[in-house]
Amino acid sequence: MTEIQAVPTTQVVTPRVRGPIEMQLKNVAVSFHGRTAVRDCTFDVEKNRVTSLIGPSGSGKTTLLRALNRLHDLTPGAKVSGQIILEGTDIYRGNLTVTELRTRVGMVFQRPNPFPTMSIYDNAVSGLRFNGIKKKSLLDEAAESSLRSAALWDSVSSRLKVAASNLSGGEQQRLCIARALALEPEVLLMDEPTSALDPVATLRIEELMTSLKSRVTVVIVTHNMQQAARISDDCAFLLMGEDRAGELIEFDTTEKIFNNPVDSRTLDYTLGRFG
């Protein structure tokens, strides 16, 4: 457990008592083939809160999010610098294998993407299976609890063996959330998880995120200002600099970012004046 500390940005820090910290980002920057895509990201993700990343298209939100579970490892030419510390361990340099990291930091993607060749049940327990769990009783228990947590159990419990592609888009996305939850991750990364869904399905996912807060820390990328305001507790605003590389402009509580930001560009963005 890391000690509690103030946000080391150049911005004025509101004196708020901060809770325990899940992930610490220190000067995180990501470059592709030497071209910086995002840089200067220094902020703390607090436990059991929802942190949103907002900013115009191309400001590096997705890039930053993917650095948090080392998805850039496989991208040729990608380089992540700075430090990302999960519960006291540097995820890039500490003795944490990448597979273990990813069981602790799960991810939900923009497009609902259940594995097309697997049933609902198999999708829900796929993470456990990848991790070597074969015991039926454990899988059954995890399938039920994760599908319940994703508010999907009641509608699918009678057809667990059906192919996941038969579900509606919103249900598929909830299945993807269940799939990630089954591993009991500490952090759940979500990249615009509702942008492919209709408003009703979106609302359901949002409610779900709020309800999950007690159990998992959520970092979510969103383009939807209302969504960020509705569901997130903290908010990071990213913007492209002169050289078109994204950088962190401001990080604070969502309330502050939306009502009383330090940087005028943040206000412009949240009011929809550009981007």
Partner: protein, 310 residues
């Protein structure tokens, strides 16, 4: 759309299960990582194994073939070695002339028809066109020996033309046709519709648009397909084996028997004379060089044009 969900209290698995899961996955992790490394390595090994025949074959072709190449090899007619002159194999000029003649006549037969059919398929949506497309695709993969059987029964036998260059060219033309048709259709369909519409909007007749606008833009793809078809025909043995008769002179006549490089390889590989078996490597080297130059030209040209377009 149903009502909004009733959110239950998030249920979590019992502590004992969580611990068991954690324990199992911690224990399994190292093994999983090692398995993954091994399988990745095995895939790499498979790639290397796939490369072995290519490297070995090319090495041996050059090693054994290059020494065979000299002026006589290209300009003299073949001889059968005798006990007195066991190394007198002569040259392969008849096979070179035969291959060029066969390919030339086959191209004359196949290219115009193939291109026109390809354009037809690209500009028509009918049952007939769909059927023809399936036929072309099936024929493109059909065993080449069947083209030889066709040429034999139709040209050699029914038309009573006999074992001649033209019978071989017919077989090769049937082989080339589907390849040309398929690549022409792709090339023509890849021409943006906007180009076509622009032409029509300027009041050009449809056939003018097709010949003056569409075909010129598709010409790279068409030529690439034609070169690939030719390079395939040049190396084919089976179809010509049955019908060209194996002439021993340098003959350009369509109605004479001719030889061909693949045929000379096929016949002489089984020769009891070591000198003839050695010479075969020379023929194979020339043939492979010919085919490589053709297909690399097609490839490089196609990708160059692609870049220009992008």
């Amino acid at each position: 759309m149903t009502d909004l969900i009733e959110l239950e209290e998030p249920t979590e698995p019992s502590t004992s299960s969580r611990e068991e899961i954690r324990r199992i996955s911690d224990n399994a992790r190292a093994r999983r990582v090692v398995t993954s490394r091994i399988m990745v390595a095995l895939c790499g090994v498979a790639l290397l194994i796939a490369a072995v025949p290519l490297v070995a074959l090319l090495y041996q072709l050059i090693d054994k073939g290059a020494g065979q190449l000299n002026l006589d090899f290209f300009t003299k007619l073949p001889q059968t070695p005798t006990l007195i002159a066991p190394n007198a194999t002569g040259g392969i000029s008849n096979a070179i002339v035969g291959t060029i003649a066969l390919t030339l006549y086959a191209s004359i037969l196949a290219i115009p028809v193939g291109v026109l059919v390809g354009v037809y398929l690209a500009e028509t949506n009918s049952k007939f066109a769909t059927t023809l497309r399936v036929i072309a695709q099936t024929m493109a993969g059909a065993p080449s020996i069947l083209m030889g059987l066709f040429a034999f029964s139709f040209i050699v036998h029914d038309l009573n033309v006999g074992f001649t260059a033209i019978a071989g060219s017919f077989a090769l033309a049937v082989l080339m046709l589907p390849v040309i048709i398929i690549s022409t259709e792709i090339a023509v369909r890849n021409v943006p519709n906007s180009l076509r519409e622009a032409g029509l909007a300027l009041g050009a007749k449809p056939h003018m648009v097709s010949t003056k606008v569409v075909l010129p833009s598709a010409v790279t793809g068409i030529v690439t397909g034609v070169i690939l078809a030719i390079s395939r025909a040049v190396g084919e043995t089976a179809p010509v084996l049955l019908v060209i008769g194996g002439g021993f002179t340098n003959s350009w006549q369509p109605f004479n028997p001719v030889s061909a490089m693949p045929l000379a390889i096929f016949e002489n590989a089984k020769s009891e004379w070591p000198s003839q078996r050695a010479q075969v490597w020379g023929i194979a080297l020339v043939l492979v060089a010919f085919v490589f130059v053709l297909s690399l030209t097609a490839r490089i040209w196609a990708s160059r044009k692609q870049q220009v377009r992008n």
